[in-house]
Symmetry: C2
Subunit: 394 residues, 2 copies
């Protein structure tokens, strides 16, 4: 897929010394010549990184000019000095761009509880400034500059043409190791578009898209201190009657990035697509999905390609919601496994084979009690994940 | 420790063919010549085994005569036939004891969704009837008859002498693989005493003791369909002014059994004792403890003997309660690690060494905001656990 940036947006990813390997970018800069409408959705963890506080005070906004991102250090649990460091990062970018400090958003991901090495960061910002560009390789390096334990950059793009023959572009960069990494628990995404949006509209559209995508992805239930999704809109193209189409494109882009994050999870051998349907409402469906998706026993069963429906049904039973269970139907990879309180007669070996040979495992739970539904993603839990997360040393 | 049963109580554990290995007991019978006061605390999972429904309808009671327990099959998700099988088990015991069917409690643990092989069970009940006794070896075989993936039986006893020089006895049998086993997710305990209790009093005392013990043990957060703790009191000894002492002994007995369960968890290399203190109330302390205890990242860090405080503090941050974080102090094995929003200066290697060499890891979280506290237990999460739970095949 071709990844095109909105007109007037340039990006860079450079190595400034936060990661050991000099081949790996660790600082990303995204700048816009126009003032952008900007919206943000942030972690709900009450322990949050200093950059989260900075961005919360700024978004939604109609004059953001840049986002600066470092990986390798989350600048979280760093007290007042951490807050000052965020401001210094924004200030350094603002001086180069000749804008106000409050027009620059900041994201950090990496180890918790260590101060940022500010000389390296400030040198990195200048270096990134000199490296800006808008080619595919610039975009890819920018995505790599956000990575922690990710094995590959996450990028997605979309575009559609208006009646006026103008083209609406969307381009997203994300990071996240799927299964959360040691002290680097963060999912970050920056979404760029040339559409014209007002701040409240941007915030609403972003929140909706995040609810249907990143908020439907649970890897290990451990909410990061630094999760953030930003939307920047340059305003070049008026959406006219294509509001709905834009909303759908934005949501699809987020779903695509969420799936890339799941697929690149630490030690992941299967991605699970969990459809919970027939619930009284969407909140109930989501609560059931989250409970099943976070069951260690469900996740290890998927790792072992085991259609162990008892683990799924018993996880449903302890979800913190009331939903009638007597009409519940469970399917795995399209095969009915459990219905009306009893296991179905099915070919265990055949279902196990399909789980073994497909990376995507589809689990469907239909409660037959309403229109509420959700599509949720999770991953399996493998020995490799535990090895990775227990052999790491602080 | 000597394990003495109350006067008139006899037990047996026999092999009737539910487990493959003929050396392993799989059916346990506990009978009392006196009618006992009986109380029960059961799983909160809305999907529950047929025996749970049977027992719920009976307890609290003042005329229970027996408990029959099988391992290897949970009789859960088995519909109406499962309910009939429970009744037949109770009936078989009642005929031998010449009591009413409703005087017999039933517990089952093992695979979900398969019908009980009733011929084997009924033969097993007769065999157990002929094997009853009250020696230490009878008690141990009875405890073994409850085991699924447990590697050892769990037994605990206590006794104290009243002013009247009468002796109050307590004896508990439990099972539970700590980390929950494939389709055998169950924690069972039967507590026996010679004290006189009325049904409501027994129920209240049991609920209190369970709240401070088994309900403070979270291994993987996956609530079983069949969890049950029963208390049977023969009524031989009047407690007089020793009510409080009895309550404390009962609670200690449950704590002892809960610790044995944690220690025997699948793949466990460390047991974590988590003290959450200084909370506005006990509910808040418990919610924080449960969130930290169930974090996969905290559990893998403990497996790796890594004092990775960022994982603990960030888990606190997403606990579903409001508690001020600004005075939070975190200690691991007695060493202050994090205080007032910042990491303390501590010797990482020394703390890591202490975690590596001690099976018990002590984590203390003090919020400095009240008197609410809880002591909670969990275990580490190892590769061995994942191997065990993913290589199992339905």
């Amino acid at each position: 897929m071709e990844h095109r940036l909105p007109e007037g947006v340039q990006v860079a990813g450079v190595h400034c010394g936060l990661k050991r390997n000099p081949q790996k970018p660790d600082l990303t800069l995204i700048v816009s010549h126009r003032e952008c409408t900007a919206a943000g959705v942030y972690t709900q963890n009450r322990v949050f990184g200093a950059p989260i506080g900075w961005n919360r005070a700024i978004t939604p906004s109609d004059r953001v000019r840049a986002v600066v991102i470092n990986s390798g250090n989350a600048n979280a649990c760093t007290g007042r000095r951490g807050q000052e460091d965020v401001r210094r990062m924004a200030q350094a970018v603002a001086q180069l761009l000749q804008c106000r400090t409050e027009q620059v958003l900041v994201l950090s991901t990496g180890i918790i509880g260590q101060f940022l090495p500010m000389e390296k960061i400030l040198r990195g910002i200048e270096q990134a400034w000199r490296s800006l560009g808008n080619t595919v390789s610039h975009v890819e390096r920018a995505a790599r500059g956000m990575m922690t334990t990710d094995t590959r950059p996450k990028l997605a793009s979309a575009h559609f043409t208006l009646d006026s023959s103008q083209e609406v572009l969307l381009c997203g960069l994300a990071k996240g190791a799927g299964m959360i990494a040691p002290n680097m628990a963060t999912m970050l995404a920056v979404l760029l578009t040339n559409a014209r949006l007002d701040p409240q509209q941007a915030q609403r559209l972003l929140q909706q898209a995040v609810d249907e995508s990143f908020n439907c992805l649970s890897i290990d239930g451990h909410t990061s201190t630094s999760d953030a999704v930003l939307l920047l809109a340059t305003g070049e193209v008026e959406l006219e009657h294509a509001q709905e189409r834009f909303a759908q494109s934005l949501q699809n882009l987020c779903v695509e990035l969420a799936q890339q994050i799941a697929d690149d999870g630490e030690g992941v051998t299967h991605v699970v697509q969990l459809d919970v349907q027939g619930c009284p409402n969407r909140q109930v469906a989501r609560a059931v999905a989250k409970t099943v998706a976070e069951s260690v026993l469900v996740k290890t069963a998927v790792a072992g390609a085991d259609p162990n429906w008892g683990r799924i049904v018993s996880a449903v039973g302890y979800a913190p919601v009331q939903v009638p269970l007597d009409r519940l139907v469970l399917e795995i990879n399209g095969v009915p496994i459990y219905a009306q309180g009893k296991p179905c007669s099915f070919d265990v070996q055949q279902v196990a084979q399909s789980m073994r040979h497909q990376r995507l495992v589809r689990i469907r739970l239909d409660f037959g009690s309403g229109e509420g539904q959700v599509r949720f993603w999770t991953t399996d839990l493998t020995e490799e994940y535990v090895r990775f997360n227990s052999q790491y040393t602080t």
